[in-house]
Every structure is written in C-alpha cells, then in structure tokens.
Symmetry: C2
Subunit: 220 residues, 2 copies
C-alpha cells in the first residue's frame, strides 16, 4: 500500500520518513514550495527523499498574496526566540492548506494515507498541530473527496516532544546534518530564531551534539 | 461587520453578491486564480466586483502540479454535457482549497463570515458542494485558526436549484451578460459543455433569454 508523507526537510518530518522506511516500501514524499524564506529546506527535502530512496513531489503554493508572516514576507523580520513572538510567524491555515494540497495529489495517485510530523512542542503556538484539528480535517477530506473515500491523517509524533524525536532519530541514523530548521533560511544556521533554539535544545537534552553548522559557537 | 464572498464570476456567486449587497456594506469579493482554462471568468469577476462597488482580492493557486482535470490541464478535453462525464472535470478538493485560502486571507482582515454559492444542481456530481462537508470544514477552520475563532461558512443557495437562482437574479437585476460560465473559456460561449448546458436550461425554465452571447444559435 502506497503512502504519502509531508516532508518539509526539517528534523521532525525527516525522522518520520526514516521511521516509515522500515515498514513501507512505497512512499511518496510531498514538499510544499510556498515561497518560504527558508527555501533551502526544499533542496534538503529533495536530497533527503533521494537518500531515503523514495519518490518526491513538490507542489507550489503561492502564499505571498495572503501575507502576514515573516516566513513568506521578506519585509517582515523573523523574531528571535527570546522575543516570545512565535505566534507571529504563523501563516494562517498553513498546515490545512499543505494537507489539503497533499491530499489532492494523493487522490490522483490512489493514496489514502498521509503521514505528518507535528510534535508536542508545536502544540501551544500552533493550534493546527493538535489532534482534534486533524480529526476534523480527516472528516472534511472524507466528505469533500471526489468519490466517497476515507482519508487517514497519521500523526505518530503528536504526543512526542522534539527531544524524543531526536532520540528516535539517532537510533535510526537520520542524517540530521542534511536537514534544515532555521527560519532565516541561513546555512550555517542562525542559532537565534525560534526554530534553531528548539532544535539546539532537543539535541542538548539528549546529551548529543547537533551535526549542523551554526553561525556562532554552540556550547555543549 | 465585514464579510467575504467567493466570487468566481459565474452566475451563482454573482447572484449571491447582488443579494448580499442589500444587507451588507463592507463586502470583500475573493477570486481564485487557479490556472483555469476559463480564465476569462477572473476578468468577469473583477468587473462585476467593481460594478457591485465591493473590494476584490485575487489569490493565486497553482493547481497545475496536481493535474488530473481538463479545467486546468490544456491537454485534456472538456467533456460535452451529453458525455455524462462531469465528474471528470473535478479538481480534487478544489472547493476545500478555495475556502481555506479565502479563510486565510479573511483571517488577516479580521473577517469571520465567508459566503459561498453552491447550488442544489452541484450536489450529485460534486460532494464538496454539500452542506455536511461545509459543516465539517467550518469546524476544521475553527480548530485550525491561529487564535480561537469561529469561522462561519454561509451557503444560502445550497437548497436552491440554479433555476431559482436565476429567478432571484432577475429580480435583483444581476448583469448576467457580464458573468462567465463556459468551461471552455470561450466568449461567445460554446453552449456544449456541462456548464453552458446547465446555464441555458436555468434560463429556459424561467422562460427567459440568457443575455450571454453563444457561438451557436440558441432556441428560445
């Protein structure tokens, strides 16, 4: 049975891809090109899909006409983790659009199972990373599909902290040096945005060193 | 209170816009540029919004990477009404994507009420034109919004046949000559595709003459 996974090229979805490889032979990784400031993650996603030996599909979604988030508007500054402004990086309904686009593509491919990697850390800032939302979305997809079809949205990491995801990823030998996290889109990564801060913390809590290059010296 | 309406530039949504004008002073019409073969409807939507005296926002959505429908793939033929193949013109989750994009824009504008014009005729071929789908989608939007917000999806024509919509539109003096319906994107309209056939039938049942130009002679 063919499955699809939303692969951003970040730590969580890459770990999910590596964990799915063990149980599924036919996997299609779907990435969304939404004009993100950190576009380098799309290149990472392509390289990671190739390394995992799975198909890769990029779907374009122009969110520039929606606006409102520094992740897509180069005129807005990405807040630092210390600003406590993470909610301002939210693109309205971003996950809902991503999942629906992936489901549209999946429908044309006869795929009914979509895997996504929201983690427990996302819960407070992002309401669209909570399971009640995905339960509802699953129902909407089922009711809105061209023909009566049950779409399943699998979120196996939703009760896991990012720290636990990294622990799992290390067992699976996930090539974390090739993943991308930084919201600024910088390589070496900035180490200052929310995304970098969370990533570094997850490695630190595992007593591990993040293999990614950073712009500044990282304390062990 | 500001409201938004999904305006395709077709008969149904234009009639809805004209009926809303009587009760709402702040209306934003949202149209989706999804690479449709019948792109002329976007020009119609812009002209109609201007004539109605409401704001108009066009949101881009590139569905070409999804594919699968002649409405977006110039290599696929639009079926004739007599082929009974209307389901093949479906772009998977098209309405769900349109509504979610409109909601994303609405969120940035502080708008919580979205109006859409599915009609009873759409019910059999398009599952995403049924009210249980919109009830579920309303719930998904509420759960997925950046902050806790109740979005309302209003579908006042969902229990009306297209014939009844035309009857209402004639009372409201809707400028039907400026609306666009033909899936082929032709002006004069082709009169042969599903969309043209349904439109002509709706006028005929009202004992009215469609003011639109057609490529062929239309019997009264």
């Amino acid at each position: 049975m063919k499955i699809a996974i939303l692969l951003s090229g970040g730590m969580d979805s890459t770990t999910l891809l590596w964990s799915l490889r063990a149980h599924h032979t036919e996997i299609c990784a779907v990435s969304i090109d939404y004009g993100q400031r950190h576009r380098v993650e799309l290149e990472c996603a392509a390289a990671l899909a190739q390394q995992a030996g799975v198909a890769h599909k990029v779907i374009a979604l122009d969110l520039s006409t929606i606006g409102g988030s520094p992740l897509i508007d180069p005129n807005l500054a990405v807040p630092r983790a210390t600003d406590g402004q993470q909610v301002n990086t939210v693109v309205p309904f971003r996950n809902m659009l991503f999942v629906t686009l992936a489901a549209a593509y999946a429908e044309t491919q006869g795929i009914r199972d979509l895997y996504l990697a929201p983690v427990k850390d996302d819960y407070s800032a992002y309401r669209d990373c909570r399971r009640p939302f995905y339960d509802s979305l699953e129902q909407s997809l089922g009711l809105g599909a061209t023909r009566e079809t049950a779409f399943k949205l699998h979120t196996p990491f939703i009760e896991m902290w990012k720290t636990e995801v990294v622990a799992l990823g290390q067992k699976l030998a996930v090539p974390y040096a090739q993943t991308h996290t930084c919201y600024e889109g910088m390589r070496p990564a900035c180490a200052r945005c929310d995304a970098c801060a969370e990533r570094l913390e997850a490695f630190k809590e595992n007593g591990a060193r993040d293999p990614l290059e950073y712009e500044i010296e990282i304390d062990d």
